[in-house]
């Protein structure tokens, strides 16, 4: 967890003997990234221009390119920033059943910026495959935190005897994030509650040996 795309910006800097001159205005970072997400959601990655972003953020192009070497890196960082805002593991739901936990996790992330995040992710797909490293970065920012949450919830279910120990946790925890990612990014169909329920009841829970003693739905 704790993905930090901006690490190169925030942490890798060698302050040198001393930090002289005017400080980077950190508020510009946020303003630019916010504008990036806005435009990304509105027009998509291809039709977004750096000038649009700079104008929306009331910034100059210089301020943009001082921070990121290219439009692509800027967008990746914008999405990573969003993810940092969105993913607050730790206060994971605990309803007593795996099925309940998974549904509660979905509800929780649908609230907040969840929707907007998914829109941004979808707009972003175009650039993920441009180069392997950006694809990795995007995956780390998007799917890994989600898989981590799944891993924790399933581990809990195993611990309380609800789920079988016969399967590889690592693989099973990837099922919902991967299929959700594919659905959002490639199929561009919504990752909604019915889709999640279908996956739970027909794939995940059966694979874990959890029978259909389901409540309402």
């Amino acid at each position: 967890m704790a993905i930090d795309f901006a690490a190169n910006e925030n942490e890798d800097r060698d302050p040198g003997p001393r930090a002289r001159g005017r400080k980077r205005d950190e508020s510009r970072d946020a303003a630019i990234l916010d504008a990036t997400i806005d435009i990304l959601v509105e027009v998509g990655f291809e039709k977004m221009t750096v000038d649009m972003v700079a104008a929306r953020a009331k910034a100059g192009k210089g301020a943009v390119y001082r921070r990121w070497p290219s439009k692509t890196q800027m967008v990746l960082d914008a999405v990573a920033q969003m993810k940092r805002d969105v993913a607050h593991l730790g206060h994971l739901p605990d309803t007593g059943t795996l099925r309940g936990d998974m549904l509660a996790l979905f509800e929780a992330s649908s609230a907040g910026q969840g929707e907007r995040f998914m829109q941004a992710i979808a707009a972003l797909a175009a650039l993920l495959a441009q180069q392997p490293q950006t694809a990795d970065a995007g995956h780390e920012a998007m799917i890994e935190p989600w898989a981590e949450a799944n891993r924790v919830l399933i581990a809990r279910a195993i611990a309380r005897g609800e789920a079988t120990t016969a399967v590889d946790l690592e693989i099973v925890a990837q099922v919902i994030p991967s299929m959700g990612g594919y659905r959002s990014l490639i199929q561009r169909r919504p990752f909604d509650r019915p889709f999640l329920v279908g996956l739970l009841d027909n794939v995940l829970l059966p694979a874990l040996g959890i029978g259909p003693d389901r409540p309402s739905t």
Copy 2:
């Protein structure tokens, strides 16, 4: 099945009053599509330019745009052409067990141009998400035939009593294609035999109620 992206080109043509003038040189189609795949694999969709493709095919840009209305459509058609070469459903394997069938299907499609095809698909991801319609088209060309094959094999397993009837065939048949697509397109990691075996033994077969009475592997 039998996806044909080029249908519009090859079949929709209205011959008009009569076909006059020089005939279109059909060998140029193949040369251009081959060059497209070459470049796509080498540099990716974004860095590929139409001029590059034309030069590689020793063709002019006019010949390209006479055949396809845009770079995107040309690339989609190139990949569809590949798919046509690769996917020969109908003679699906029949080994007696679902596990054996799935592995045999994998081996079959790994032969031929399978590797190259996957590289092309991966390079292609960039454009899939650009517009919903191209995403749909790409999905239809890539994943649906694969899911269809899964559907047939699983239906056979249910018919012979190997697999449970308790789950939704439609959803279960999507698991391997979706996760494979996500792995190839977004993670850009190989969809190889170990990954397939992991999915089969930890997700698909348990979900279908098929126990681990596996042979060697």
Copy 3:
């Protein structure tokens, strides 16, 4: 004479084995150069942008930079083109006296594009001194043809015994063009008839030993 700034474009090209591909649209050259002069006169060299010129000429920036390597070269060529249009040596006036010839030459060049040409030259001064070679080029285009005309007229006056042979024709022929150039470019005051008459009667004619048996003025 016969200054040709565009020589590099029009004559230096090695056609290679054959001239292939679409031909340069020569009308675009003229359209761009005309637009260049328009904008140059309207806003001056510094405030003129290449995009302005391209838009005015209904051209793309590509067409501009295919012809000239920089804004500076484009402007120099535009002025040279103008000069080519303006300077039609050969049909020099012949009034019987040097004074009459010089005044007639002035009247002739004041007609036509003369005025516009001088405006362009004035706007252009900014760039002449940027680099030695552009300064040379500008000088060749602007002043040399003028000096050549002076040389011819003065030589005629010497031939018919009107002017002394005691002075260096080369130097004397430079007086009016140089002082006119300085006045236009640096002082930015008009090179008008009173100024010319002052030079003739107080400098050029006395230096050539021609007395003040002047007509009206």
Copy 4:
């Protein structure tokens, strides 16, 4: 004479109620102006950047813009500063002949920083024509003092009966400065002794009715 571009900076300052805080470091003025001339001569006005000048002077841009409102004004001031060092009218030469006086004036101004000054002036031409007012200012600083010296020397020659009274002193006194300015600024060729001698013997002296009873040269 006594042009002082820097007047606004050095004399117009209102000391206010009291001069508080750190005193302005007057040595920075000179350092910046020196650096300005250096860079101006090295790369010309257009390619010179304010950052270059500040770096060379080991100053910040703030120190520059606290003193001059723009790059243009700074450069004009730098050249005016030079001029102040160079032009010391009053002790004009007096050799008994106009020809001797003019040559002696040339020798005097060639000494000192004359050469460097001319280089700077040449580099400066670019900005002179940008706006009329800077052109005027430059002309006043450069050419007018020179013309004034010519005027005095020629008036003396007329007074002692060496030169004719038949011509307009004002116009004749402009000949050498104007042609010298044109040669330096536009042609970028040296205003050297042979050039001066050519002008004197073929234009100025004949125009003033002074015959070729020249000494050695």
